[in-house]
Amino acid sequence: MSEPRATANLGAAGPRLAEVVAPPSPGQRAGRTGRQFWRSSPVGIVSLLLLLGAMVIALLADRIAPYDPLAADFIAISQPPTAEHLLGTDQLGRDVLSRIMYGTRLTLLIAVAAVAIGDGIGFVWGLVAGYAGGKFDLISLRLLDLMMAFPALILAMLLLAGLGSGIVTVTIAIAVTRIPGTTRVVRAIVLSTKEMAFVDAARAIGVAPIRMLARHIAPQCVAPMLVLASLNLGTAIFAEAALSFLGVGTPPPAPTWGSMLGGVLAGAFRPPWWLVLAPGLAITITIMAANLLGDALRDFLDPRLRSQLQ
């Protein structure tokens, strides 16, 4: 628990000296960082645990869901929450709780994949554009401007119009909307890092460009990337929810939180409040956790990022 104290063991305890002086193993270091993060931001830890909890639900959906999420039960149509169906049933008599659990799987899968792809491309693009400069940088900037000339959701809809809707195409469409922001941030960091003395020093001893990017410049972008990925996760979940709610995202019958909200209020004389409440709460809580984790990571890793990544 406590940090090893070198002073107490110096002298007599020869063999233990090595143990004390030895650098902490990766595990120890991770543990220490975790404790520091906890002290700096309990909210961040709680958010992280919430997201991990959602991922556990996603992974175990087939084990813990009480019903088949696709099985229609025409005897139990549109029932408010009961003992058998804790969150009620939908218009086809499908169990809402089970659909929420399976929905967690699909929603998180799409959101995480979209962030990984979009931020991955943005990261590499920003690194290269910032480091190479010149014409490539100029063309990149114009292209990014163009991608930002559309509202994100409209751009996603345009891409879906071209690609057709489906789980993969939704992921791609959302990923594309995440690229310009990430690329710009990474590019800006690379531009300022390039001017630093240690980069000059590395260049002076003849470090090749690829190695320079990988070993000296990319590590400077890791902290902001963690923050960006967390904030983008929230945006991606929102985008998936909005697109699927509109019926242009993930096609039925597979449930996502957004598609569960689609058409719920159409034509119902008494609106089924339980169908509105559950998926929306799932979306809101998850987005909130992602946002708070992003904020906490930003303040913990590098408070100077505040102005750049708000």
Partner: protein, 319 residues
């Protein structure tokens, strides 16, 4: 100032050109052509034969090479002809004129509502930092940044139907026909979107004010005995306004996208509803031109934001 505005206007032209090219490519090159896409979509109620396909292609000009198609499209758009729906044959121009005003009204009123709510809250929260008001504000901001506005709209409708057996009307009533009924239609979307945007505005107002309040000129203003309200509003707020305008402009894009879902939630027959219908029907001419319209509006808004920088901050004009 005139030079500044002119330069901004000129810079917008290549962006607009790029926007049209991007839309054109997304609609055509990715999967083949729009009609092939229509065929490929499973569950389509209408199946076209080879001959019908060929005539349909010819009638839409899809048998032409790409550059001819693009120039044709641009020529039409510049003449104010936005084409027609593939399925129903009604003019997209009429659609825009009928449904556009309500969407534009919602978007603009949303910004007004967001400023009216967000800026005062942000100022108070910054001036009285670490007071209970500040904490309530920050909590509210965290909450409303996460709540999807279309879901908030669904909650509002559900609540009002269950409690008062009332829901907003679903038909399209322009403001000059019946102002009361019109207000019932637009009030919900405006409030729901406004609260979400107000959270963003309040957050930025707060952080911009906190930064400015530490500046020397604010201390000088206080030292020479100006009242707190003069210092906060005349000296601090005016300097904090720049990031607030930036964010409002950027948020406007989110607003345009978000309003599509909110319109759907409330059943408002605006442009967003038309776009979603077109997407579901794969009505490609409608999609192409509506997306273009959204893109153009967003570019224009960003232009206005750029120009208003120059108005608010004289330093920027001369850069």
């Amino acid at each position: 100032m005139r030079v500044y505005i002119l330069r901004r206007l000129l810079l917008a032209i290549p962006t607009l050109f790029g926007v049209t090219v991007l839309i054109f490519l997304a609609m055509r090159v990715i999967p083949g052509d729009p009609l092939a896409m229509m065929e490929a979509s499973e569950g389509a109620t209408i199946v076209l034969s080879e001959a019908e396909l060929a005539t349909a292609r010819a009638s839409l000009g899809l048998d032409q090479p790409y550059h001819v198609q693009y120039l044709d499209w641009m020529g039409q758009v510049l003449r104010g002809d936005l084409g027609e729906s593939f399925w129903r044959g009604d003019k997209v121009r009429d659609l825009v004129l009928r449904r556009g005003p309500i969407t534009l009204e919602i978007a603009m009123m949303t910004v007004v509502v967001a400023w009216v709510i967000g800026i005062p809250i942000g100022i108070v929260s910054a001036v009285k930092q670490r007071s209970w008001l500040d904490y309530v504000t920050r909590l509210g901001v965290i909450l409303f940044l996460a709540v999807p506005s279309f879901w908030l709209g669904m909650l509002a409708i559900t609540g009002s139907v269950l409690a008062f057996s009332w829901r907003p009307p679903l038909d399209l009533v322009q403001i000059n026909e019946d102002p009361g009924r019109h207000l019932q239609i637009v009030a919900g979307p405006i409030l729901v979107l406004g609260i979400g945007l107000a959270a963003v505005i309040a957050r930025f107002t707060r952080s911009a004010m906190l930064e400015v309040l530490q500046d020397d000129f604010v201390r000088t203003a206080r030292a020479k005995g100006l009242s707190a309200s003069t210092v906060n509003l005349r000296h601090a707020l005016r300097n904090a306004l720049l990031p607030i305008i930036t964010v409002s402009g950027l948020a406007f894009g989110g607003l345009l996208g978000g309003s599509v879902a909110v319109e759907r939630a409330f059943g408002v027959p605006g442009l967003g509803a038309a776009l979603v219908l077109a997407l579901n029907e794969r009505d490609w001419m409608v999609i192409q031109n509506l997306v273009l319209l959204y893109g153009v509006i967003f570019v224009v808004v960003n232009l206005v934001v750029d120009i208003s920088y120059g108005l608010v901050d004289p330093r920027i004009r001369y850069q």
